[in-house]
Symmetry: C2
């Protein structure tokens, strides 16, 4: 969901002076519906509103999620998330977040799609905005998943993670590497972005995250500089086209491509998929969610994610 | 051996105007001993002479190979390579190379060590120098291998590949990732080098090579600029210390660390090791060696490498 949480919040935790200092046993009021929000604030109940990010950033997220929900409409069940998981905030209303999960039909290769946005006030006075969208396939296919994450911690810089994470060991399966990464020319979008002066490779501090992504993963930090392109222009004219291109490859070649998977292989895929899901929760969410949103909301949201992940 | 061959020689092939234009069926004279070299040239018969690179570059290679041969002396058999594989050149004496292979004793976890250097005149008038040293373990252990390669294609720039390539799928084996990459703090040397202004991440054009390396792999391009550090200074004061540090971790934690490996796991390791070896030959050497050194020398040298690789 938010694969960079731990890196951005490594030290010190940003909300340690607000929510984390409250006794954890005290029952907390929790704003879980629109009516609980201040009338002066945006109305952040619905996932698709992306209320805290720039228009190009919002437009990109809406486009990606809508494209998948339209193209895969016949594969997806309606969302069953309770309202206080679809939108939640911390006690002091400095941190706001939304979660969107739709599971695939039992007959579909789609396991689930998961989108989220998160807005946190930083102790430095700025804000952190993370938007993410991922699509997981189930073991009826071995095709890669889809992962996009935009982490913006200042008005002029963001980290982009965009990848089709493989579901097999690529070293042991060069044919899989060829099918999904070489023949699809998946490195081309990465090379396009890399040409921009504002774009630098990004190294996650989690070696597990570095291991999970593909060799064509786009892991970059984008820093707008004065006199150059603005972050909004970079999102609209560079990140957007590249993200749409990668999503198109995922939809046609992965989500809707036919793959033959034997029973033994299904079991192996399930084992690897489950491990990735458990490790992702452990790395990304386990330690940060309670800190950012309090233990009750963290329990609810992590519970919903674990239910979708079935781990 | 030379994991970047294909990228440097992608187009056009550098020696196409010299050796490759000769009819490939014609028997060729081949200089395979010191007496065949011009008396005005360095005396490139012995691998450890590294005759075409700068003193700091040579010193680093000699140090790394000597350290391994001393520390693992009781594990290694003497070299059995014929002289015309230990040193070889092309018909027109524009390209020179040396190979050094020592297999491990049957009782040792060392499969073999493999060193090489290569000097090729480029059509542009410059020269390409590649020096490499790698150490492979056999399936009695699952510990990572060692890989170092320095590819210098101009007096002011080089590509460095330095890694302990894993021998298991790290996604499926997070304990292995922890033992060999997290607990050993293997990312620290990478971070040190990355701080230099002259150092930029390098992306191999082979997605398979990108998949084979670890998440702490050092894959960088070093470009010396006027008024800054020279390439020799960077090798002596930055690359050297980092390479020695990574080799030290490999020697103590991998080559000489005890690991329990069951029979099933040995078979899996062998399958993966063999596949990596076959793919590496295919990617790096198969198409370039005949072009650079003529078909006869290529056959001899690839034959010796395949024998060491046992694939």
């Amino acid at each position: 969901m938010a694969v960079l949480f731990r890196h951005i919040f490594q030290s010190p935790p940003p909300s340690s002076s607000s929510s984390a200092s409250l006794p954890s046993t005290k029952p907390r009021p929790f704003f879980c519906s629109a009516s609980a929000s201040s009338s002066m604030e945006p109305h952040p109940t619905k996932f698709m509103e992306f209320p805290y990010v720039s228009t190009p950033h919002k437009n990109l997220m809406v486009h990606l999620v809508s494209t998948v929900e339209t193209r895969l409409a016949s594969h997806l069940l309606p969302s069953t998330l309770p309202p206080d998981v679809q939108y939640y905030q911390n006690d002091t209303a400095t941190n706001h977040a939304s979660l969107h999960i739709r599971s695939g039909l039992p007959s579909s290769p789609i396991d689930f799609i998961l989108g989220s946005w998160l807005h946190c006030q930083l102790p430095t006075g700025g804000a952190l905005n993370i938007t993410s969208f991922s699509s997981y396939l189930n073991p009826s296919t071995d095709a890669p998943n889809f992962l996009l994450e935009l982490i913006q911690s200042s008005p002029t810089s963001l980290v982009l993670i965009l990848d089709l994470p493989p579901r097999k060991d690529l070293v042991l399966h060069p044919d899989y590497l060829k099918t999904f990464y070489e023949d699809t020319k998946l490195d081309t979008p990465r090379q396009k972005l890399q040409k921009l002066a504002e774009v630098k490779p990004y190294f996650s501090s989690s070696l597990y995250i570095r291991s999970v992504v593909s060799p064509t993963a786009i892991l970059v930090r984008v820093e707008a500089v004065e006199g150059g392109l603005s972050l909004e222009e970079i999102i609209e004219n560079h990140i957007g086209p590249v993200a749409r291109e990668v999503l198109g490859i995922w939809l046609e070649q992965c989500a809707l491509g036919k793959r033959e998977v034997g029973e033994n292989e299904k079991a192996e895929l399930k084992k690897r998929d489950d491990l990735v899901k458990r490790k992702t929760i452990e790395i990304d969410l386990g330690s940060n969610f309670p800190r950012l949103f309090g233990p009750d909301a963290a329990d609810r949201v992590l519970g919903a994610i674990r239910e979708a992940y079935r781990v």
